[in-house]
Symmetry: C2
Subunit: 235 residues, 2 copies
């Protein structure tokens, strides 16, 4: 066949097929040969569109980052940085839980993925507008990413394992049998995520007040958050 008059492949088609394969069969199922077969071409064809396999996986990860809602950051009145962060974290986590198998790729950082960088940029900009100093704004973007990706990673794969013999109660006196159950594990993940997110936002509120970062909007006194209160209820 050699070269067809109309290209068989495109970057988009490759990425879309790779994403479907990752979602349905996991990262390990994506070999260049398997992916090519799925596309109806031979393995080496992919190298006309991507430098290597890793670049394909990075592109897949970026389509997931692109699903993260960022609208709360430009909508927001600066005083609402906690709510914006909260809503963003939910959207971020939702994107990852929809595509759990690509999380290991996403978790290693934004790298050079455009959508990943766009996320980092949006969070940073919103925090600075809310009054956070640039260094702190950078930290917030990073630490939120740590928490959300860490939770998405730790949740799937096999947080705990489905084999009763793995956990001798003599060895782990506090670990109940309940830890074995997969649906219990899912509830733990949700509870831990909600609890951690709330704690992070409350704790950042403490630092925000201590630094009086809201001063330019509410005079030099205690502006913004008058008292530390629990974060908004999670839906």
């Amino acid at each position: 066949m050699a070269r067809p008059r109309k290209p068989l492949l495109s970057r988009d088609r490759i990425v879309e097929t790779a994403r479907a394969l990752v979602d349905s069969e996991g990262l390990d199922a994506v070999s260049t040969r398997r992916l090519a077969a799925e596309l109806g071409v031979s393995g080496p064809s992919l190298y006309n569109h991507f430098r290597n396999k890793d670049e394909i996986l990075e592109a897949v990860a970026d389509t997931v980052s692109a699903k993260v809602d960022l609208s709360m950051f430009d909508a927001a009145d600066g005083r609402d940085w906690r709510r914006a962060l909260h809503d963003w974290a939910l959207s971020y986590r939702a994107a990852l839980t929809e595509h759990p198998h690509i999380v290991p790729v996403l978790a290693r950082g934004p790298g050079r993925r455009p959508a990943g960088l766009r996320v980092a940029d949006a969070v940073f900009g919103a925090m600075v507008r809310a009054g956070w100093p640039p260094a702190q704004a950078t930290y917030i973007g990073a630490l939120m990413r740590y928490f959300v990706t860490g939770s998405a990673l730790g949740s799937f794969a096999r947080g705990f394992v489905d084999d009763e013999t793995a956990y001798d109660p003599a060895d782990y006196p506090h670990l109940g049998q309940a830890h074995l159950l997969a649906d219990h594990q899912e509830k733990v993940d949700e509870g831990a995520f909600e609890t951690g997110l709330r704690a992070l936002l409350d704790g950042l509120g403490v630092q925000y007040e201590a630094g009086r970062y809201a001063s330019e909007r509410a005079g030099s006194g205690a502006g913004g958050f008058a008292t530390v209160r629990p974060a908004p209820k999670l839906p």
Copy 2:
């Protein structure tokens, strides 16, 4: 040669050699053939001691978990749960930063690794003794793991990339050039970790007070933490 009178291999020797290889050349360098060569045997020999390669990597990950200090949990007076959690998080992170290449394996959860389970058990037990309800104690162990492993994962590999052309300021108006520098990245990781850890502990303090979990030690009033104060200074 066939079978020698004294075994050439042992689980410990395999794990130790694998750990050294992971540390010096990364996860990808560990193939069964390469590891076997390092040990002076042929590839299939490893299968006399481990069921498969993944089991070897799990064992390596467990030696890293085993380095996490847990003494602060049984030493602690229950009121000091925040300090214990803080010190533990530092020790946890230190263990991971010493062996960054194995973090992806560790990050997927305790699985059936004994040392990983011992860690989960210790945190849970200490939080319950401090007055946290069991469900919350479980959440705390999980969310701390999310944060620490997420930060260790996001830090290495390539949080950002060392190539100026990757970041067009027109695309990411808030991302400065400084993001490119590797040593700047390291400072960001440390700052983000400290900030996030402090926020988590402060935020958990808010929830602890709101739930009055300390009541059995200080009467049914506001015991334990009278006010929300910043977490102890990080060294």
